[in-house]
């Protein structure tokens, strides 16, 4: 990442500012790895911004926050965050994070990964972590395809959309991820698009401080593959599309918020309820059953 010494006006000479200025999120980024790998107009970077902003807003001690990603374009998120950050295997970010969060219960662990990673190969871990109400925040960047591997159809690809393994259009029914999350017991469920960067930031801040399993789906453009194959233009065009078609409906019944190809997208916060998280629940349960004999797990010194 370059140091910016003056406002960029390119064709105009302007007085230099007294000190080199740095991006306000620089401390949260592994700038030595920049520029990142994401394509021009890809939405993942914006979600990363929202995450950092949400984390700042949450008031959590950043050293006690860890991020785990799976494999995918979205899964590269962990690699750019200057937090304890883990790039695990495809689909296994959630169980890795489960171990990490239990291994050191002082941590708040967030998962940032793609729709394929979380809902295809990782689907079982997703539903079980939600069921257990594991103290995790899952941010699923949904770009409607497996981007990293070249734009294959996946469980979120809307019917009719074209993909490299659905060359005549996808015909499978896609998941409605918020509905799935809710049916398994997630205590916080929201959906935004990368255009809703402020709302997503707020949702991330809320989710990070919410005990238990929180889930935020963020729809984001993949211009290089999904948009190109479907001739939907650039990421900017998709942002405009979100602008035109996203409808905020807080508290919507998750049952009713299926996503159809290039149709209205219902966004909002759908679930925000209280339920004791796995760790707390286990502690009080065992305390209750074993009394003095119980030695709670407290992590290692």
């Amino acid at each position: 990442m370059n140091k910016i010494t003056a406002p960029a006006t390119s064709t105009l000479k302007v007085p230099e500012s007294p000190e080199p200025l740095e991006h306000p999120m620089k401390d949260y980024l592994r700038t030595e790895r920049f520029p990142h790998i994401w394509c021009s107009t890809c939405g993942i970077g914006t979600v990363l911004t929202a995450f950092i902003a949400g984390l700042q807003k949450s008031g959590l001690d950043r050293d006690k926050v860890a991020v785990v990603s799976g494999i995918g374009c979205s899964g590269r998120a962990a690699g750019y965050l200057r937090l304890d950050s883990f790039h695990s295997t495809h689909g296994r970010a959630i169980p890795f994070a489960t171990g990490l969060a239990l291994g050191n219960p002082e941590l708040k662990v967030a998962i940032i990964s793609g729709d394929g990673d979380i809902a295809a190969i990782g689907g079982n871990h997703f539903i079980h972590a939600a069921r257990r109400n594991m103290n995790l925040t899952v941010i699923c960047i949904n770009n409607f395809n497996y981007a990293m591997t070249g734009g294959q159809a996946g469980p979120t690809t809307p019917q009719e959309a074209n993909a490299s393994t659905a060359p005549y259009g996808a015909y499978e029914y896609p998941f409605n991820l918020p509905y799935l999350a809710e049916s398994c017991g997630a205590v916080y469920v929201a959906r935004w698009t990368s255009l809703h960067v402020r709302r997503a930031t707020k949702a991330i801040a809320e989710a990070l401080v919410k005990p238990g399993f929180s889930f935020i789906e963020v729809i984001a453009p993949c211009p290089t593959l999904y948009a190109r194959r479907n001739r939907l233009g650039t990421g900017l065009d998709l942002m405009r599309f979100y602008h035109d078609t996203a409808k905020i409906q807080h508290g919507a019944n998750t049952k009713d918020i299926d996503i159809e190809y290039q149709k209205e997208i219902i966004v909002g916060k759908f679930v925000d309820k209280d339920k004791t998280d796995f760790f707390t629940n286990r502690n009080s349960f065992l305390q209750n059953k074993l009394g003095d004999k119980y030695i709670p797990y407290k992590g290692t010194k």
Binding site: P7, A8, S10, V14, F34, T41, G45, T46, R198, T234
Partner: protein, 102 residues
Amino acid sequence: MMNYWRTPLDINKIEVPHGNVHIDNEQCKGCGFCIEYCPRDVLALSKDFNRKGYHYPIVLKQGACVNCTLCEMICPDFSIFVVEGKPSHPNIDDVLKKGVKS
């Protein structure tokens, strides 16, 4: 429809907040998000390419920036940010207009 940015409520009153926009030309991938969503149309696309071959944004109306930081938030490449304060540069609208891609 809805708003995607924090509306600068006091925009037309006294004490309008101001921001100075800073852009990392070389890291920018020219997506245009910042330009499109700046509520004050502060930015525009340069005609020049950076080393990667992208057109990056330039500040068109520095003085108009209300420091809403939407550009900073929405940039997927961490290539633009805003620092609160009086505009440190003249309003360069006219100067730049010729250098701007339409």
